[in-house]
């Protein structure tokens, strides 16, 4: 054969390989149509199952420990201010307070840092009982308008915040209109802490979803003022708090990034927070919180993941042991024929 192969021209070899391929293909077609393709038929034998449970359990527990550790290393300060920041006389009628523009919304508070907080320290506002995920709310935006401005003004989805006095609104819709407008500033002693409010939104959002040439037009000019106003001279792509706000939350309780403090805070430091309590959560009795938090690779403070991993890993190992016990006490030889149904009846009868 080899001699032949050497003497023959390459064309022949090619033809050979072609026919080989063909025969392979026809073999495949045959096996396919006759349903006899080579197949792997794994069998869940007890040793296999036990070792799978055991191994997965062994993998899970360390993951859980690492995750739990990461979560525990996060320092978090949560300060609920929606009640405290309402002056005493208005406590019984918070709604009147928030709706009255003549009352100063300024509010200060000192916070003690319980533990060393490493920069960057993230500042969040957290709203409660606020349904950003309501269908009416979610739909009330016009993405094309956000990117291209007035060129795309088919803002039917934005109704009723689509136009004002017959002029279109940019950015239109309920989401933009209800933009969160509480503001925070921090100082340690007498020194102001710098709050970096750049780069809090996703890069892609800034670059691709909110137009660089799109400026707010006719915004918050209506009879009803929702939330914050926007500087009509700054393009939407730079209005990062709007961009963050426009990412509607999944749940009625949510945090949104406000900014970063890019200095370390030491334990027992006292920082004072100066905030403007503008946003109306009083009509639906939602709470407002200010959150300062560090982060790890896992994100924020989130013990659940680690605990879940550890407990599932433990239960896997437990199941593995139960199986092992059952199997040792009551072994069924592999492929034991006495378990075949036709072999049962004579035994039982």
């Amino acid at each position: 054969m080899e001699m032949d192969g050497r003497s023959s021209s390459s064309a022949v070899i090619e033809a050979d390989s072609v026919s080989l391929q063909q025969s392979r293909r026809s073999k495949f077609i045959h096996q396919f149509t006759q349903q006899s393709l080579p197949a792997c038929k794994p069998v869940l034998s007890p040793p296999f199952v036990i070792s799978v449970f055991f191994v997965v359990g062994l993998i899970f527990i360390p993951i859980g420990i690492v995750a739990l550790h990461a979560s525990r290393s996060v320092v978090e300060i949560v300060y609920r201010y929606d009640g405290e920041c309402v002056p005493e006389p208005y406590r019984s009628n918070k709604l009147a307070y928030i709706k009255d523009d003549s009352i100063s919304k300024n509010c200060s508070k000192s916070l003690k840092i319980p533990k060393h907080m490493k920069a960057p320290i993230y500042i969040y506002y957290q709203l409660d009982n606020y349904y950003q995920n309501h269908r009416r709310y979610v739909k009330s935006r016009n993405d094309k308008q956000l990117l291209h401005g007035l060129k795309y003004h088919d803002a039917s989805s934005c109704h009723p915040e689509d136009a004002n006095h017959g002029h279109p609104i940019v950015p239109c819709g309920l989401i933009a209109w209800s933009l969160f407008n509480d503001t925070y500033s921090f100082s340690r002693g007498v020194v102001d802490l710098k709050v970096n409010r750049k780069n809090i939104a996703w890069k892609s959002d800034r670059e691709h979803k909110f137009g660089k040439q799109v400026y707010p037009v006719n915004f918050q000019n209506g009879t009803l003022i929702g939330g914050a106003n926007l500087d009509p001279n700054i393009p939407l792509s730079d209005q990062e708090d709007l961009i963050v706000w426009m990412r509607t939350s999944a749940l009625p309780t949510f945090r949104k990034l406000y900014g970063r403090i890019e200095e370390d805070l030491d334990a027992d430091d006292v920082i004072s927070v100066n905030l403007f309590n503008n946003y109306n959560t009083y009509s639906f009795s939602g709470s407002k919180k200010l959150v300062l938090s560090t982060s790890t690779w896992l994100g924020g403070h989130n013990d659940f993941l680690g605990i879940a991993y550890i407990s599932i890993g433990t239960s896997l190992i437990f199941i593995a042991f139960v199986f092992l016990l059952l199997h040792v006490n009551n072994p069924r030889p592999y492929g034991d024929t006495s378990n075949l149904s036709w072999n049962w009846k004579p035994i039982s009868s």
Partner: protein, 1226 residues
């Protein structure tokens, strides 16, 4: 046909005594009834042009069995599609998706619906197109039609018109219902095979009117003119009323002159006829019923699940609605950021009920994922693919005829795996309707060494079993002794059979003759001691018949046209023995007899004095002949019981030996006839003949009775010569197939139009009956019962049934088997409402049931009785038009294709070329398809519950506003791309065990009829699994992504991120789940499952990069937002493991402690124990048979028991072994 037509015209009526006597002189008064409504048809013979104008314009001969035509297809097919409730529901949903109520875009609802409906309609169109092609094949067949001036020309069938004169030649089908005018026989007789109409194999005689006999040549039709007035088209096959106005005289017509469409001209060179009923007016078309659409049990059960799920859907929508009202009314006015009410009034706190109504609709659509439209698509696709596999199976491909198996509808694939009772036709299904002369007993000596199929297989089986036992050494009697005794006998049989097998291979088979015994062949019979009897035996074979010889002009070999295939086999046998029947004239039969003494055959003439033909009542036929020595002989052949009753005292010399042989032949599954003769003196004959002639020429009702009486007088005091044994050739592999099917726990009923003896013989041949089985024969002696005593007859039958039931109850022996044999007439009573349950109860107790002489209608009724009475799944298999009713009635109808008639196949759901393929169709494909579909549907519900419920949970967190956490496209693609292919691969490729094991362990089949894989427990188990999975996926994700940052950069998760993470978990969980469900992975499954998961990430990448104007929110969700977050990946892992943990624990627990049969076999196969430990394997294989009382194995077991009993007796007389007799049973 070419070489044949050399015989002179015969008057066949002279040959017959019973069947074809001339009609009585015309009774003019009878024609009066052909007036008024119901008898309006007028046919102007030979003037078809008259029938082209109204009012005589009857329908053309074009037939169409299609459902649609080009114009009606679209509206009709669409209407059909939306008659399905599910489709209507989806249509409604699609329509609503165009309104603002819809929670998602319209495309996601309309596109899948269009796909499903389009696919189903394409399937309909294809099936209808096939029907059209089939119709056109028939419509374009050519018929020879009188054109003008006595010239005949060919015309396609569809162009035939009423009034046309057609000439039909031998072995052609009649193109329409014809009035027979004349035939190639002088007396206008012709033979018709009506297999396609009623399934009877014996030929029927039709005869023309005396007045039209002269029209027997083409030119005579030149001026032919006549008018027929007759009944309107009706479906009654056996009646016809009409009159022929010819030469200004009126002649009444009866069914005897009518040739029906789809029957076939046999044994007659040609006939002329006038077309009376064309196309859809013809009786056979009038009989055609629309085939009912069948649905499998699984599908019906699935409907119930759908209803449950739909109720559940309505329930959660209602909950959601209530939640919505509460939220909208109480909270919404305070949520200033929503600015309610909105324009559309969807969220109007002032009109909460109106908004709630809108919301209910939204919710129904949103949670509609519980009832996935894709389930229907996937099932449709899977079934079509399964059907392709069935069609492609080379093991069900008949090489001789080149016909593959054909799944004509794909709706019933899984039903094949749940069959409980098989109702089989006999002729053409179990047998090939070919008789082979195999053995004979002459003068008490048995001749013929070749074994019948039954014997062969039995011996083989026995040897195999004995071998197995010997090796295992667990015989009840000690091994050594057992072998000493059992050995020789078994071996002897093996030797004989194996020799025979060689012989079959070596010799050129002669059709109808497989006799082998050198003592009789090649003239050796002359040397036998009883050569006179042998001579007589051969003469009876060659003389006592009604056949006509036909010589092939090239080879000079005679072939015979006989009324029944037995007769043909006898003549072939006689020819081979040297008694060649070569010519029949009006009064004589010529036989070329070859004696060993002389080289040249001598042609002898035997004058036929009288012929007493065969009727099912008489069960015998005789001829009276005068040979060349002027000796008058009566030669008689008939059923053994009849003949033995009629023997003379000195004619019983060989009775005992012959009886013994007959029993053996019966046991070997052969059809037996006894032969006898009687010498007559001249006076004896002439006195009898006077009486006979008188009876023959008499008219009136008692003519037949008279004839019978006179014949009876003659056929007595006979002398027994011998007996013949003809093998009704079973189709290849039938006994083995029946054996296997019986082992798989299937019950087999035979329903045949044939007579009882034939049916019983076949019962023996297929091992449905065996010696030692108690036969409960239920028959009514209708002769004895006067017509008005119906009640008495019924009571009699009821009594018989009760007796039978009692007998079974009383029986203690566990090995006792009963067979129920019932005939058609009795069945008419037994099937009446008050009796049928008694009958059914008895029938169920019996190991085998044979119904003989049943009409097509009765076949269908019996099928319905079994189907409805037992509630189990029935399968009917048949090949002829007479089986159509049964095929349509049964849950599954199987047609035998490859034969001439297509009716059975056309009506069937599956068509196979041979009966033996049924085993593979059921045990392999049925088993697989059942499990596949069952698993697939369960998984589908699991998957959609797991997915759909997460949407519902989210509502509680979104103020019941109808917002979905997932992107529209995720939801659309979930069922279409992301999870559809693995489940389809489960439905198409899954095998619990491979096909060989399926065949080796027929008991595995019982998992289907027991419905182990689609019972409610399992279904609810899967649903609970779905519920669990949905809870794990939703709440774990919600808790993990609750309010905290999920990345190092401090960002929190928004709805898109949460939805995408959750969806990732869904995709992983359900795909891992299906991998755990499968037990058979080819690279296709590997590819599809991992491909589905990969597809999700690919989709996210592509979708994320795609034009952001499309859907902005998911922009770069994977690469920018989720992928860099470790928490995303670790959540996926955690959720996937937790979702599948209970299932994995459950299946491994079940496998370890409550294994099912296929688990063990998988393990044995996996560890290759079957190869290492062959004994164990074969032992288990033989144990895996269901306890059965029919089939070879049962027969062999019985034989072994018997044999052992005998051995035991011998043995115990010799030694002191105390093993009880016949205890061992394998």
């Amino acid at each position: 046909m070419a070489g044949g037509r050399i015989r002179a015209k015969l008057r066949r009526s002279n040959l017959y005594t019973f069947a074809c006597h001339r009609p009585h002189p015309t009774e003019e008064d009878k024609t009066d009834e052909i007036e008024g409504p119901g008898y309006s048809r007028i046919v102007h013979c030979n003037k078809p042009h008259i029938h082209e104008i109204k009012p005589l314009k009857y329908c053309t001969n074009y037939i169409s069995t299609t459902k649609y035509n080009f114009l009606t297809f679209l509206p009709k097919a669409i209407f059909e599609q939306f008659r399905r409730v599910a489709n209507l529901y989806f249509l409604l949903a699609a329509a609503l998706s165009l309104t603002p109520v819809s929670p998602f875009g319209p495309m996601s609802m309309i596109a899948p619906l269009a796909f499903v409906v389009g696919l189903s309609m394409a399937k309909e169109a294809l099936e209808d197109w096939r029907r059209f092609i089939q119709d056109m094949k028939v419509n374009l067949r050519k018929a020879s039609v009188h054109k003008e001036g006595g010239v005949f020309g060919l015309k396609p069938w569809m162009k035939l018109r009423v009034g046309d004169i057609v000439k039909v030649e031998k072995d052609q089908f009649f193109p329409a219902d014809l009035l027979l005018l004349s035939s190639s026989y002088e007396d206008g007789i012709c033979y018709v095979e009506t297999m396609n109409l009623d399934g009877e194999t014996n030929l029927k005689v039709k005869r023309a009117l005396e007045v039209t006999l002269s029209l027997d040549d083409d030119p005579t039709f030149e001026g032919f003119d006549a008018t027929i007035r007759c009944e309107d088209p009706n479906p009654n096959l056996y009646t016809f009323v009409g009159k022929l106005d010819y030469n200004s005289r009126v002649h009444p017509l009866d069914p005897n002159q009518i040739l029906l469409r789809d029957s076939k001209l046999r044994n007659t060179a040609y006939v002329y006829g006038v077309v009376i009923f064309t196309g859809h007016d013809s009786k056979v078309m009038q009989n055609a019923t629309k085939s009912p659409s069948k649905r499998s049990r699984i599908e019906k059960q699935m409907d119930k699940i759908i209803y449950i799920l739909f109720s559940f859907l309505v329930f959660i929508s209602f909950i959601s609605g209530v939640g919505f009202i509460v939220k909208t009314k109480n909270d919404l006015p305070h949520w200033w950021y929503l600015q309610v009410p909105d324009r559309e009034g969807l969220f109007d706190p002032n009109k909460p009920l109106q908004s709630a109504f809108y919301h209910l609709v939204t919710a129904l659509m949103l949670y509609g994922y519980l009832i996935p439209i894709s389930l229907y698509v996937s099932i449709e696709v899977v079934k079509v693919l399964q059907a392709i596999f069935i069609n492609q199976d080379l093991n069900m491909y008949d090489e001789e005829s080149g016909t593959p198996a054909q799944a004509r509808t794909s709706n019933l694939n899984e039903e094949l795996g749940q069959v409980d009772t098989i109702l089989s036709d006999k002729t053409g299904t179990l047998t090939c309707n070919q008789m082979d002369f195999l053995k004979c007993s002459i003068a008490g000596t048995a001749y013929g060494t070749r074994a019948s199929d039954v014997e062969l297989a039995a011996a083989k089986q026995m040897v195999m079993d004995m071998d197995g036992q010997g090796q295992n050494g667990n015989g009840n009697f000690s091994e050594k002794n057992g072998h000493e005794f059992a050995g020789p006998e078994i071996q002897l049989e093996t030797v004989i059979t194996s020799k025979d097998e060689d012989a079959i291979n070596n010799k050129n088979p002669i059709k109808g003759f497989s006799f082998e015994d050198s003592r009789l062949m090649n003239g050796n019979w002359f040397k036998e001691p009883n050569e006179n009897n042998i001579l007589l035996f051969f003469r009876i074979l060659s003389l006592c018949h009604t056949a006509i010889p036909e010589q092939n002009q090239e080879t000079g070999v005679f072939t015979y046209e006989a009324e029944s295939p037995d007769e043909g086999a006898f003549l072939v046998a006689a020819r081979e023995f040297g008694f060649e029947f070569c010519k029949r004239t009006q009064s004589s039969v010529f036989v070329r007899e070859k004696y060993p003494s002389s080289q040249e055959p001598t042609e002898r003439e035997f004058k036929v004095l009288a012929l007493l033909d065969f009727t099912s009542k008489r069960k015998r036929m005789s001829v009276i002949i005068r040979d060349e020595k002027d000796q008058i002989l009566l030669l008689c052949k008939g059923a053994d019981s009849i003949i033995f009753d009629r023997l003379s005292k000195n004619g019983r010399m060989y009775e005992e030996a012959t009886r013994k042989h007959l029993n053996e032949y019966g046991e070997a599954g052969l059809r037996t006839l006894a032969l006898a003769y009687k010498k007559l003196s001249e006076e004896e004959y002439s006195t009898w003949n006077d009486e006979f002639t008188k009876a023959k020429t008499s008219f009136g009702a008692d003519r037949e009775a008279n004839l019978e009486r006179v014949s009876d007088l003659m056929e007595k005091d006979l002398i027994l010569v011998g007996a013949t044994a003809v093998e009704d050739k079973l189709q290849k592999g039938v006994p083995q197939c029946i054996d296997k099917l019986a082992q798989a726990g299937l019950k087999i009923w035979v329903l045949t139009g044939d007579k009882m003896e034939t049916a019983i013989n076949i019962g023996f041949a297929c091992s449905l009956l065996r010696q030692g089985m108690r036969q409960i024969c239920i028959s009514s002696n209708l002769d004895a019962i006067v017509q008005d005593c119906r009640q008495a007859a019924k009571e009699d039958i009821l009594q018989q049934i009760t007796n039978g039931t009692e007998m079974i109850k009383v029986e203690k022996d566990p090995h006792a088997a009963f067979a129920l044999i019932i005939d058609g007439k009795t069945l008419t009573y037994a099937l009446e409402d008050d009796m049928k349950h008694h009958f059914l109860n008895l029938a169920i107790e019996c190991a085998s049931v044979i119904c003989c002489r049943v009409s097509p209608k009765q076949k269908a009724l019996v099928t319905r009785l079994v189907k409805e009475g037992t509630g189990k799944i029935t399968l009917a298999i048949g090949d002829g038009a007479n089986d159509v009713g049964m095929i349509q009635e049964a849950d599954i109808g199987v047609g035998i294709s490859g034969c001439e008639g297509m009716q059975a196949v056309m009506a069937s759901d599956f068509a196979i070329a041979e009966f033996q393929f049924l085993e593979r169709l059921l045990v392999v494909h049925g088993h697989w398809c059942y499990k596949r579909i069952a698993q697939m549907i369960c998984y589908f519900f699991y998957k959609n519950i797991a997915f759909g419920l997460t949407i519902f949970y989210f509502e509680a967190f979104a103020g019941f506003s109808g917002q979905s956490v997932y992107d529209d496209w995720y939801m659309l693609l979930f069922n279409v791309v992301l999870t559809s292919l693995p489940v389809i691969s489960l439905g198409v490729f899954e095998q619990d065990v491979d096909s060989e094991v399926c065949l080796q362990f027929p008991a595995l089949y019982q998992q289907g009829p027991k419905n182990l894989f689609f019972d409610w427990q399992r279904i609810f188990g899967w649903m609970a699994n779905g519920l669990y999975t949905s809870l794990v996926i939703f709440f774990l994700n919600i808790v993990i992504f609750y309010d905290q940052a999920f990345r190092l950069e401090g960002q929190t998760a928004d709805m898109v991120a949460v939805g995408t993470a959750m969806m990732t978990c869904v995709i992983w969980a359900v795909n891992v789940q299906i991998a755990l469900t499968m037990s058979h992975f080819t690279w296709i499954q590997h590819f599809l499952i991992s491909g589905s998961i990969t597809m999700w990430y690919l989709f996210l990448l592509v979708y994320g990069e795609m034009a952001y104007s499309l859907r902005v929110n998911a922009f770069r969700v994977l690469i920018e937002i989720l992928a860099p977050a470790p928490i995303y990946w670790s959540t996926t892992l955690l959720v996937t493991v937790l979702c599948n943990l209970p299932y994995l624990a459950h299946i491994s627990f079940q496998r370890s402690f409550k294994p099912l049969d296929h688990h063990i076999i998988q393990e044995i196969k996996y560890s290759r124990k079957d190869i290492e430990d062959g004994h164990m394997w074969s032992r288990e294989r033989s144990k895996a048979r269901q306890k059965t009382k029919i089939g070879f194995t049962a027969r062999v077991d019985a034989k072994i028991r018997q044999l052992k009993g005998r051995l035991q007796k011998k043995y115990s007389t010799m030694s002191t072994c105390h093993h009880p007799i016949g205890q061992q049973q394998t």
